[in-house]
């Protein structure tokens, strides 16, 4: 005569799958944010300083990726890459899609920040004989980063949210793990609330951390 397990019991029983899912969510988001930031910064440079052909290509990439829903990118990457003979796991295909998506956003943010900087800065750097690399490293980069920080933090939180879409192609991140537990043990209301709470905590932490860094690097 055992009482049916309560929600807390089930959470305890399923703690490892859920924690593993949370870990996967964090890993997916981190990889996509890192890859997307590197790629996006290059994209932003191409959009700002590239010659006409480079600019046109970068613009086409950004507009196409930003005009397509993330879920479509994820599904397309998952189905298409297999068809053309690239044997990627769902995890890899998903991270790739999120990285490309993140890069398009970071590209626009970088371009926006660089274009806001006054032209005189570049001219002054040239006048004292800095190369383009040095100008970017010592003059433009640090200022652009300060401008770009708030939208970059936003993008990071967006990527954590977008990582839930990988559940659709079967990546065992937090949302898919939650759904699996629900399908065995019910309590869908409580489990979705729990998942929502965990996502909120991760994103809220990113937001707070971002604010702290902003204060740290602000000039005032």
């Amino acid at each position: 005569m055992n009482a049916p397990p309560s929600f807390v019991d089930i959470v305890w029983i399923a703690r490892w799958p859920l924690l593993y899912g949370l870990g996967t969510t964090v890993a997916v988001s981190l990889l996509a944010i890192l890859g997307g930031t590197v790629l996006g910064t290059l994209l932003g440079l191409a959009l700002t300083y590239g010659n006409r052909v480079v600019r046109l290509l970068a613009r086409a990439y950004t507009d196409i990726v930003r005009g397509t829903p993330v879920l479509v990118l994820v599904l397309a990457s998952f189905y298409i890459l297999g068809t053309v003979g690239l044997d990627l796991s769902a995890f890899q295909a998903g991270v790739l899609a999120l990285t490309l998506f993140c890069a398009s956003h970071v590209g626009e943010i970088t371009r926006g920040a660089l274009q806001t900087l006054h032209k005189g800065q570049t001219e002054a750097a040239k006048a004292i004989g800095l190369t383009f690399g040095q100008t970017f490293r010592y003059v433009l980069g640090p200022q652009a980063l300060r401008l770009a920080l708030p939208p970059l933090v936003n993008t990071a939180a967006e990527m954590v949210k977008a990582s839930t879409l990988l559940s659709v192609i079967g990546v065992a991140e937090l949302l898919l793990r939650t759904q699996e537990v629900i399908s065995r043990a019910f309590h869908s209301l409580e489990f979705y609330l729990l998942a929502g709470f965990l996502y909120f905590v991760v994103n809220y932490a990113i937001e707070r951390l971002g604010r702290a860094v902003e204060r740290r690097v602000s000039v005032q």
Binding site: D63, I64, G67, T68, P69, V70, L71, V72, L73, L75, A76, Y79, I80, G82, T83, V84, G85, A157, V160, K161, A162, S163, T164, L165, S167, V168, L175, Q179, I182, S188, L189, Y192, L193, A195, G196, Y199, F200, N203, Y204, E207
Partner: protein
């Protein structure tokens, strides 16, 4: 590799994609309609001097902006029936998207409301308008014009977010594309056409919004 592009299968099912696109647009319009009303209320709440109004409004915006939309969608479809609220797939998705969009729209409207010059309100008071009249006849129209660009990009974002309805089998564009993909194995063609439709719709919406902005500009 040896993959030859063949769009026949996609063109045969093109009607399904177009119906799906229509449903996507309908979902986006309905959700943003409800989201605008709720977002406006939230925006007035956030700028209110009464903490009784501003604290809950701020909490709502912070909470909803940090939740993944897919979690909301699944919650509204699978968990709300447990609370006795049983909605159809379409309606539960519209509810989720409306609640989600309200948080973003509240931010947009708040910025717009704060941007309305104080002098306009004072002028309204001076010619004897009541608070309600000032809000309806002065604050809202001025704010609306100022937030139109942001409103437009939010709408385009929401339109793309309707693809998440595919996760609960609402037959919108992404769902139809996935169906064609699975049924015909014309993988590359299907996704090219589907994302082409999304991109084209987004561009058309953006162009329309620019025209509306130009029309309304003073």
């Amino acid at each position: 590799m040896g993959y030859t592009l063949n769009f026949d299968a996609v063109w045969r099912n093109f009607d399904d994609l177009l119906w799906g696109l229509g449903l996507s647009l309908l979902l986006a319009v309905t959700a943003i309609g409800i989201g605008c009303l709720l977002g406006l209320v939230l925006a007035f709440g956030r700028i209110s001097r009464s903490r009784l109004l501003s604290v809950p409004a701020n909490a709502y915006v912070t909470l909803l902006r940090n939740l993944p939309l897919l979690v909301l969608v699944l919650f509204s479809f699978f968990a709300l029936p447990q609370l006795g609220l049983r909605l159809s797939k379409q309606n539960s998705f519209v509810l989720a998207l409306a609640l989600y969009s309200a948080a973003y729209l509240a931010e947009v409207f708040r910025g717009g409301l704060l941007g309305v010059p104080r002098g306009l309100r004072e002028a309204g008071l001076a010619i004897g308008l009541t608070e309600g009249q000032i809000r309806r006849r002065i604050t809202l129209p001025v704010m609306f014009r100022a937030v139109l660009p942001a409103l437009g990009s939010t709408f385009i974002g929401l339109f793309k977010d309707t693809s998440l309805a595919a996760a609960i089998a609402v037959p919108e564009l992404t769902f139809e594309a996935r169906k064609i993909n699975v049924e015909t194995f014309r993988v590359i063609e299907t996704w090219l056409v589907a994302s082409g439709l999304y991109i084209a719709t987004c561009s058309i919406l953006a162009a329309l919004l620019r025209r509306v902005e130009a029309r309304l500009a003073i």
